[in-house]
Structure formats: C-alpha cells, structure tokens
Symmetry: C2
Subunit: 196 residues, 2 copies
C-alpha cells in the first residue's frame, strides 16, 4: 500500500465553501483536490494500491481527516472541481461518533495529524521535504510506504517533530507544489516496482 | 529554454466555454490548464526558463495555438479555474493576422501542430510517449529541449509522424496524465541542471 498524508492548514472543515472559489472560501482546498488526483489517477485508471489521508485544519470545525481508498473509489475525475465536490460532501457528515462513510471509498473522522499518524504507525513513515535524502537514493519499500506532505505552508515545527528527522526525503533540488511531489514519488515507486 | 507543446484534440477554440464545465463545454480544456501550471509553477515561483505552446483543435474555430512565456507571465495561480480563464481570454482574440498578444506573457495565433513544430525546428524536439527511451537514460540538453505531448487521446498517427521515432522518451512504466509527465520531465531536468 502506498499512502499519502497531506495537511491543509487552512482547509475548510465544513461543506459551505464554494466550488467556484476553492482557493479562497475553501482555504486552499484546491491544493488538496490536486493532491488527490495526483495520488490516484493514471491514464484512464485509478491506483488501487493507494490511500490518501487529508488532514483539514481550517475553520469552522477543525480538525477533520478524510480517508480516500483507491481500492474502493469510483467516479474520480481528473478535474479539480469534481474532486473538490467529493471533499465538500465528506465535510457535511456528522463526525461526532468515529469515522463515517461518505461517497464510495471516502471516509471522514474527527482527527488531527498526530492522531492520523498514530493510526498509521511509524514504521514506513516518511516526510517529503526539501531538506531530505534524495528520493532516488532513499531506502523505502515501494509497496509499503507512507509519505507525509505539507500544503503551501509546509509542515509547522510542531508537526515536523512527529516524524523522525532521518525519515526526510527530498524529490529534487527545486521546491515544488505538493501534488507535483506526489507525482514524482509515485514515478519513483513505479520504476522500483517494475524492476522487482 | 525548456519547452512543452501540448495538443488538445477537442479543446474549445472560442472563448464561449464555461469555467464551471471545462471538461465538457471546454473540450477538456482542464487538461491544458493543468499542463500549464505543471510546466510553470514551482513553490511560490514561476519557471522563467519555460515556454508552453498549446495546440487547440476542437470546435468551433480550429486550429489555434497559444504560446505562454514564463519569462513574461504574471498572476499565474495554481488552481485550474484561473488558468482556464486566461486561456479563455486568449481565445477571444482575433487571429486573422498573425500572432496576437493576450494577457501578459500569453499570445495566440492560427496554427496547427505541424506549423507550431516548424516554428520550433527539429533539433531539440522530443515526444513524451510510453514507447520511448527511459527519461533518465535519454540524451537531451536540460536547458534546451522541447517535449511534445498528447492529451487524453495521445497523439494521432498523422501527428506522431511529425516527430522522428528516435526522439521518443518515456517517463516510466505506468501510462500517466499529460500534466504528470510534465512534472516528471521537469524533475529530471532540475536534477541534471543541479549537477552541472
């Protein structure tokens, strides 16, 4: 299983934001939407071996975490707006009592980054950050790795300490958008898997 | 100069399409919008050394070609909708007499893929396609290369013959979306440039 955890520090936590203004009223939900499509979509297919966890920390009801399962997802289109609509539906669910199912393959719960990472466990956890080991040289299992990524704000100091410093991996010499880092990480894993 | 030429076989060629429905009424203009942001945007910056040429072949007024210059661009936001809006403005220009300036750094002309490739010249031209030499092994100048890419339909046979078969480069073992291929190509060029 390949897993990506993406933190949206200002991402809206109710379903009230406008799909016409995801950067503004959605608190950069557009970033999370692009991360979802980068994580799951190949040409005319969905990566069934991939899971995404979005951690949404914006107003009015933080924290919330959305889990998307490639093995179950249907109807994931590549355009940002339709993915934003799926996130918006998930944010309307009542999260008072544990994790709730939203649309097919999508679940939502009340959980912070710390709680999400506890659910995952430390073993195969990595932090995609510009100050890390080069991705191509890094040691990890391409069939069993979790990558944590920040949004346009990166990860905050108190979030970075949740992941061991030795687990930092860099995709390259240029600081890139979060969704682009996911694409590059998948590409490296695809190459490793094809050589197995 | 890094250059990407992307063919949108059904991409709308008038400014009438709806930003709320770029996949439908825009004829998959959403694909071209994502390619533009993948080509130009790094974290809080624009790649000044990059040029994009979109070739739009959909109705009602094909062919049109839009040239975007990283060295001149302003206000390129990462969300799909705002990039779609810039494309839409360009498509309202009169292209009867040669190339016309649209918003800053964006130009539009009446030109087919063949005409665009003639303007570029053959020397540094490559075709990003799954049946090519592996990108990491391929010989090209990371400071002077042009990559031609198809949309969700790939390139048609009559378009593929415009590029020498020896110039095919593959980004990896999994067939990916066009914008993801651009991200991976940039990453490889970034790595080569950082070693120079």
């Amino acid at each position: 299983m390949r897993q990506f955890v993406i933190v949206g520090h200002r991402a809206a936590t109710s379903g009230d934001f406008s799909l016409d203004d995801m950067p503004g009223s959605g608190g950069r939900i557009d970033i999370l939407a692009r991360c979802v499509t980068a994580a799951f979509l190949t040409s005319f297919n969905i990566r069934r071996d991939t899971r995404v966890r979005l951690v949404l920390l914006g107003q009015p009801d933080p924290p919330k975490s959305i889990r998307l399962e490639g093995a179950e997802l249907r109807y994931l289109n590549p355009d940002e707006r339709s993915t934003g609509a799926l996130i918006r539906i998930a944010l309307t669910a009542d999260v008072t009592h544990g994790e709730r199912a939203s649309t097919r393959g999508i679940y939502v719960q009340r959980a912070s980054l710390r709680e999400v990472l506890l659910q995952i466990g430390e073993e195969s956890l990595f932090y995609l950050d510009e100050n890390g080991t080069d991705l191509r040289d890094a040691t990890f299992d391409a069939n069993n790795a979790t990558f944590v990524l920040g949004d346009h704000l990166g990860l905050l100091e108190e979030e970075e300490v949740l992941i061991a410093p030795s687990k930092r991996i860099s995709v390259g010499p240029v600081k890139l958008h979060t969704d682009h880092c996911i694409t590059i990480a998948h590409n490296e894993m695809d190459k490793r898997c094809s050589k197995q």
